[in-house]
């Protein structure tokens, strides 16, 4: 029987009262639990003031332009930092050199990273750093977190590399304390930074490639005067996505054409920035719309695929940074992110629609009290909602979550030594107008990092420890039938020790960077689905033990005055095994995590042509928790080559590039039964004015 309107109103008012009551409880709880934190903050603030009053301003005067430079990743080679934590950057030139078109593909060249790639032009691409799972990596787009409260993972294939300044991945706790609190709250952080113009420019690019792929992009940058700059970027991409595959099926094979893998996507983003002598303002609006097929796995004897996915993403963000004097530096950001997904599944007569909203506010204040001492506090609050509007609600409730992150950090920095300590307080509260909700959660998470350069510049020894937990996603908690609102957060701990070495000279060997890191960690209460006869249920049943090491090398050679040669290589060993007491498969490598993996890239730059080669390699993996021959997924190698040339055209430069990807043409599988496209060609033209 349908409810009357008055009953609905009554329900609403009850829900409203419940919400207000909940909010009051949250505030009171916060007041109590924050007391300890405030004592800590007070101590730090006291130290800051004392130091500030007694010390001269040791901080070198920063211009706002150098501040901007710290916000973007520019020209840094893979593994070439002196951070207290492994930090890898790929700048715009490197991205081009590697022949990648989206951030997901770029991540395959980073150490300690496993990319789950479901293949195809629009296939989902997520990253798992050191076996911890995609939900443990926070993704920041132009400094503001891109969250996904429903699944906890971000599709990195959605972010084109065309307009990027670079990407940076930091694993664990670095020695940069001037970061948003969400950086401290994640086991790994990926920064994706778009380019802001340094002069008036106009870039137009056209691409075409295999599988009926066409792409066009326009980027326009303008200096508007009085410190204002504007950037507009839009691109459109369409691909039929059909490619032949041939994968093993015992004594025969499954041959066919990948169907329902078309995609049409459009993206537009505009950014404004203003930089004064001591302050910086940025505003950004981003819109993305895509419609694509979801081909699913290759299924024996069933070629049909009909699932469709529509994605709309709109976000806007404001960022302000101020350096009022040589001691204080502060920044704040406000963002709202909206994501709409419509997932049609004709095979089971179902259509799911999901709407997510996230409003996020953060601020960070750093005080450089002395040349050797600095402090920072950062707080971030974000509010998430998830609604479904399908015929039969696939979520058992309409969840909302408020998360508050508060962090205090301190850094000692001597000429060749730095030590950083942080304490993060996380608090999350949820409510809903129907159904059960998860209880409130809070936790203090410490982290510490030290870096030592025994010979001044050049070599740095480092060690760090980070303790983090991640909240279950809304799917984990509230997906109808399988969701479990009593899930505990996943907890992870990671120790890292390593060294980095960099060398630059004017000789033939212009530059060399080496980084080696070993790590040990654990994930407790890992969330997995437990099978039942009727339904599977999400549960905290697994513990995972992690250890391994990552190595990186990159070098640049000046062959002669006009020719440069660059190489980079990475090798990773990852022992990531189930460590659950009483588990039937304790000691087995966790799913889709290769024990050995690596990459290699080489490029030669000559006046005639630029030419490059890259290899991504992964050892055997297992598709299920039980490591037996039939669950093993074979190793794969992806070789690609590119050639390009630039011509001066009037005041501009015309670049032509041909990429030959997966030149061996194998339909290797990163995810079992999701064959990658075979050999493909990609031709791109770009005019820079």
């Amino acid at each position: 029987m349908e409810k009357s309107k008055s009953e609905d109103l009554q329900d609403e008012s009850i829900a409203h009262i419940a919400f207000e009551e909940k909010a009051r409880v949250i505030v009171l709880y916060q007041l109590n639990i924050m007391r300890l934190y405030r004592i800590l903050i007070s101590c730090i603030t006291g130290c800051m003031l004392l130091s500030a009053s007694t010390c001269k301003a040791f901080l070198q005067v920063d211009t706002i332009h150098s501040m901007l430079d710290t916000l973007i990743v520019s020209g840094v080679r893979i593994g070439a930092t002196h951070s207290a934590a492994p930090s890898q950057q790929i700048d715009a030139d490197e991205l081009r050199r590697l022949g990648v078109t989206n951030v997901g593909d770029a991540m395959k060249f980073m150490s300690g990273v496993t990319v789950k790639d479901y293949g195809g032009v629009g296939g989902l691409k997520t990253v798992s750093v050191r076996g911890m799972g995609a939900q443990h990596t926070a993704v920041f787009y132009d400094g503001v977190a891109i969250g996904d409260c429903q699944s906890g993972q971000v599709d990195l294939g959605r972010f084109s590399t065309d307009n990027l300044e670079g990407v940076q991945l930091t694993i664990g706790q670095g020695n940069d304390i001037y970061r948003p609190a969400r950086v401290l709250a994640s086991a790994a952080t990926l920064f994706v930074e778009t380019a802001m113009p340094r002069s008036n420019n106009l870039n137009v690019s056209l691409c075409t490639g295999s599988f009926n792929t066409y792409q066009a992009a326009i980027q326009c940058g303008r200096l508007l005067g009085k410190g204002w700059r504007m950037s507009l970027f839009t691109d459109y991409m369409t691909s039929g996505g059909k490619y032949n595959f041939d994968i093993e099926n015992l004594r025969s094979s499954i041959k066919g054409k990948r169907l329902n893998s078309d995609i049409e996507a459009m993206r537009a983003e505009t950014s404004f920035s203003w930089s004064g002598k001591r302050s910086l303002f940025r505003a950004k609006l981003y819109a993305y719309n895509s419609s694509q097929g979801v081909p699913g796995a290759v299924i024996v004897d069933n070629p049909l695929s009909s699932e469709r996915l529509l994605t709309r993403n709109l976000f806007g963000q404001l960022f302000y940074e101020l350096q009022p004097n040589n001691i204080i530096r502060m920044k704040a950001a406000l963002k709202h992110n909206y994501v709409y997904n419509r997932n049609k599944q004709p095979a089971i007569h179902n259509c799911n629609r999901y709407r997510q909203h996230e409003t996020d506010f953060s601020y960070t204040i750093a005080m450089y009290a002395a040349e050797w001492l600095s402090f920072a506090i950062s707080e971030e609050a974000f509010y998430n909602t998830l609604r479904t509007s399908n015929r039969h609600n696939t979520m058992s409730s309409s969840p909302e979550r408020l998360t508050i992150l508060s962090a205090a950090s301190m850094q000692l920095s001597l000429s060749n030594f730095s030590a950083t300590a942080s304490l993060l307080y996380s608090y999350a509260s949820e409510w809903s107008n129907s159904g059960e909700v998860a209880p409130d959660r809070s936790r203090f998470s410490p982290s510490i990092a030290v870096a030592f350069s025994p010979f001044g510049k050049g070599m740095t020894l480092r060690a760090s420890y980070k303790d983090i937990f991640r909240m279950p996603t809304f799917n984990d908690l509230y997906y109808r039938e399988s969701g479990n609102y009593k899930l505990r957060p996943e907890k992870s701990r990671m120790f890292n020790a390593g060294l980095s070495y960099s060398y630059t000279s004017n000789s033939i060997l212009k530059e060399m960077n080496i980084a080696m890191d070993a790590y040990y960690g654990a994930v407790k209460d890992k969330i997995v689905a437990v099978p039942g006869i009727f339904v599977w249920k999400m549960s905290n049943v697994n513990d995972v033990r992690l250890s391994g090491f990552d190595t990186n090398l990159s070098s640049a050679f000046a062959v002669n005055d006009k020719c440069d040669f660059k190489i980079s290589a990475a090798y990773n060993y990852m022992y990531a095994v189930d460590d659950t007491e009483g588990s039937l498969f304790k000691g087995h490598q966790i799913i889709y995590t290769p024990r050995h993996s690596g990459s290699f890239a080489a490029s030669l730059y000559t006046p005639l042509l630029d030419i490059g080669y890259s290899l991504v390699w992964s050892g055997d993996r297992y598709r299920l928790a039980q490591n037996i021959p039939s669950t093993r997924v074979d190793a794969y190698y992806d070789h690609s080559m590119w050639v390009s040339h630039d011509w001066n055209v009037g005041r501009g430069v015309l670049s032509a590039k041909i990429d030959a990807m997966n030149i061996l043409g194998t339909n290797y599988e990163i995810i079992r039964y999701y064959p990658m496209a075979g050999r493909s060609l990609h031709l791109s033209l770009m005019l820079k004015l």
């Binding site: 015992l250 099978p531 299920l624």
Partner: protein
Amino acid sequence: MKKRLSGLLLLATITFIVSCDSDSDNTFNGGYVTLNSGCYIVNTGNWEGNDASIQYCDFEKMLATSGDAESNIFAVQNGTLLGDLAQDMLWVNDKLFVTLSGSQKLEVLDETGKRLRAPHMYTQEGASPRMMATDGDYVYVTNYDGNVYVYDTDRADFVKKIAVGTRPEGISYLDGYLVVNNSGDLYAYNGTISIIELATGNSKSIELVNPYTTSVVCNGEVYIIDSGNYYDIPSMVYRISLQDGTCASLGFAASALATYENTLYYVNNAWDYELNGYVSSPLYAYDVVTGEKTEFLSAEKMKNVNSLSINPDNGDIFVGYAEYGVLGTMEVFSINTSFKGVFDVGYYTAGARFEYK
């Protein structure tokens, strides 16, 4: 099917590594296997894993062939994977019928596992063959397109389809009637039972919540499990009256149900939020004539029960267990509760299947 079959040399030499533990006794060493005393086991496999499998269990040794997707009897006989998500299996007229909802097909095999036919059951709109019943001449297959497909075992083809309710699942044949569990719209819990008189095509409908895959015939009546809504409506066992078109609750919850003579054997495996896991009830025996309920096996012996099957000839009870991401196991108990054997099975076993007589 009382003949001794040979010609399973390949099957025997390659696949008969049986695996309840590492004892060498668990390996079949003969050059062939006898099929005059055994049953089949069908394993659903993982979603998008193409790792459904079929095993043969020898009653004498109480051991089974490999449940692995790459070395089960279908794979060995045909050199190809069985497919994705085996839901049900029947053994009728010297043939095996297997429904695969992921591969959207009906596999028709001979008793050695060799493929005879594999008719597709998909349309552009999608379909999903689920459970089966038989009267000895026809095999009735429920399909998510809202129909029961009728396969003539003599003509070796589908001969007609019968419209039933939304997303039909479990099905039973009894005395010229089909009783079909229609699970209803996704997450709507608006399931129904369709009772169809085959001779006339007349049908009756009973409203329930979520009648799912289980439908059995016991003592001349049909019993089904309604799964409830997994939240505040618990699962429930119902007796279906063919003549009246009504159902009656037996007053107990179950997740798996099997029958032998006048007795229903059932276990309830329900999620316990406090313990953060599935918890099984004891295995109960319920006499449908007297209404008497007794504990057959204690709850300690029931782990994560995924299937329950009973040999109609002697009452041996086959209990299948499943864990996440790992091959399952199956234990066998005699009708007097004594333990008879344990062996490995494939992923998420749907249970043992015995010859239709």
